[in-house]
Amino acid sequence: MSERKRRSRAGGRRKKIAAREQGTRKYRPYIERNIPYFEILNEEGLALIEKNADILLEEIGVEFRDFPKALDLFKNAGADIDGERVHFPPGFCRQIIQSNAPSEYTQHARNPANNVIIGGRRTVLVPAYGSPFVRDLDKGRRYATIEDFRNFVKLAYMSPNLHHSGGTICEPVDVPVNKRHFDMIYSHIKYSDKPFMGSVTHPERAEDTVSMAKLVFGETFLEENTVLTSLINANSPLTFDDTMLGAATVYAEHNQATMISPFILAGAMSPVTIAGTVTQILAEALAGMAYIQLVKPGAPVIFGTFASAVSMQSGAPTFGTPEPGHVMTIVGALARRLGVPFRSGGGLCASKVPDAQAAYESANTLQASALAGVNFMLHTAGWLEGGLSMGYEKFIMDADQAGMLAVMLQGVDLSENAQAMDAFREIGPGGHFLGAAHTQANFESAFYRSELADNNSFEQWEEEGSFDCAMRANLKWKEMLKEYEAPKLDPAIDEALLEFIAKRKSEFEDRDY
């Protein structure tokens, strides 16, 4: 069969170039894992952490500040309330979560081909979130603008290795604070057709996000399906605040997903040990997710965490070090035992520029997250400077790494073709495999091919300008933006969105806080 195929005409140069440009890998909307989870604690260790978290929840409790609704719900469900402090009986949160929260859910994209399933053995890779600054080789570090925001939405849309458009990819500082959520959500809808995240900085902004999503997906569809996944941080240690709870409540009421994320700088916001930190993370996440299930039983929740350690010398966050990697691995196991999806990780680093430090710190966290079994990997691409800066070149470098993670997680093919026994029979001892029929039939998709790494001869590399990785990435993102074509959007929906935004923006004054 393959013999004959090789001899038939393939269309020559023109066809080949076209095919190669298409890429050899078919776009998959998420990764399906086919390797085991990396776990570092045994049953006894995990049970100890769970027991200690239960003790924390009961003895010390969690504060829900300036948010009486949470206190009421917990009280009615049988928890002990002392001022704003909630004390949970052992197993209380776990029971509420396990009897209500889905173990996985589909987040719909406006293009159904890009729907993602979050949970189980899947991994969804998502751009970085929240940076006030952007950086590129040409213009250096500067406050982000809405144009930068659009650029990153476009790059994420075009990247076959990222499955999600993300949320606040960078902060568009040139748009008034109280109105920028409109422009951000609109950009995700207009310039991409991958799924996206909602605004969480005020309950009203969460409502606006939901209203805009309704215009895209339809009101009934939205109430019955999840089209938004949004980031809710705990205010560790052991505290939730009204801003985050307000936004979380809005999303849950509409059946939209939230990731309850204890965001920990260990040493400052949690004890300095791994065991202490994971205990606190589990306790906080249990309390937050239980709250969501009381607001709306069955609303999707993700057990999130962001793990970093502070430098004990300065208090600054550090990344890519082994301890937060362990934290992530353990929390992954705890989330699976609880039976909810898990968010963590990303291409985290403290470096200011896309240099060696950035690369190894990010590689350390990306790999650790993938091995730990992260389902929703926020901050996969672009992160620099502890989240203060979104890097154009860094984004391209991380997206390339993201492609490798997908291949790594797919595991090992053991099909008859993959066993390659024919190849051995054909080549035998000595000789080489480059011309073997088996190689001819499989080479194109055999190995991950980085579009960024240079593995040419020294001379060729020099002739081509002696570019380092960041310089090659710089060319790449510019080329991508030049080639960008917007996905189709129904003009009626576009018009409705613009009308909604214009109306809402006119309803209140611009404010810069």
Partner: protein, 236 residues
Amino acid sequence: MSDSNEEYEEDIILADLSDEELVEQMFDDLYDGLKEEIEEGTNILLSRGWSAEKVLNEALVAGMTIVGIDFRDGILFVPEVLMAANAMKGGMAILKPLLAETGAKPVGTMVIGTVKGDIHDIGKNLVGMMLEGAGFEVFDIGINSSVEDFFAAMEKHKPDVLGMSALLTTTMPYMKVVIDEMVNKGIRDDYIVLVGGAPLNEEFGEYVGADRYCRDSAEAAAVAVAMVTERRQSSA
């Protein structure tokens, strides 16, 4: 044996030391964060006729300067500086009423808070710690502080320095709201205004009308001390 050596060190009788030796020992005790020893040393110097101002400057502030340098250079870690600042506060508590009696001023006073809408406070706490270490009296009004909160604290404590912290691009413009209101009320020039937080930069500090943006707590302490000293000299 090294053990007996350590024991020997613990057995130092502060009262038996000469002034010079005692001050040297207090430098070490500050460095090691020993609050009770600093309180004892402070009392001994006072009982030997040192003025409160002299104890403050030559024993405490000088000792904390060494702590500050070693923190900046990465030799001392945050938890150690916290203990040192705490020891310093112990000495300050004894000196404060005496300083007030003689009309001598402490190194400086500061009101610090994280602005409205913002709950990030790790950096702000470090700045407060470093300033206390430098001999400042620091009034920390916490997170999520409104114009009214800042004004009430300024009214009450009459600080030399107002410090504002913000970590969000959505909250940092609020610093301008506070400073504009100070201008409106005609009190802007009564205070040195310092701002900080990771998403700020020098340019933004100028834009909101602060006197200085400081990148970290070590710089904040150095700048605060220098600016207060300068201001006192020029108004003297």
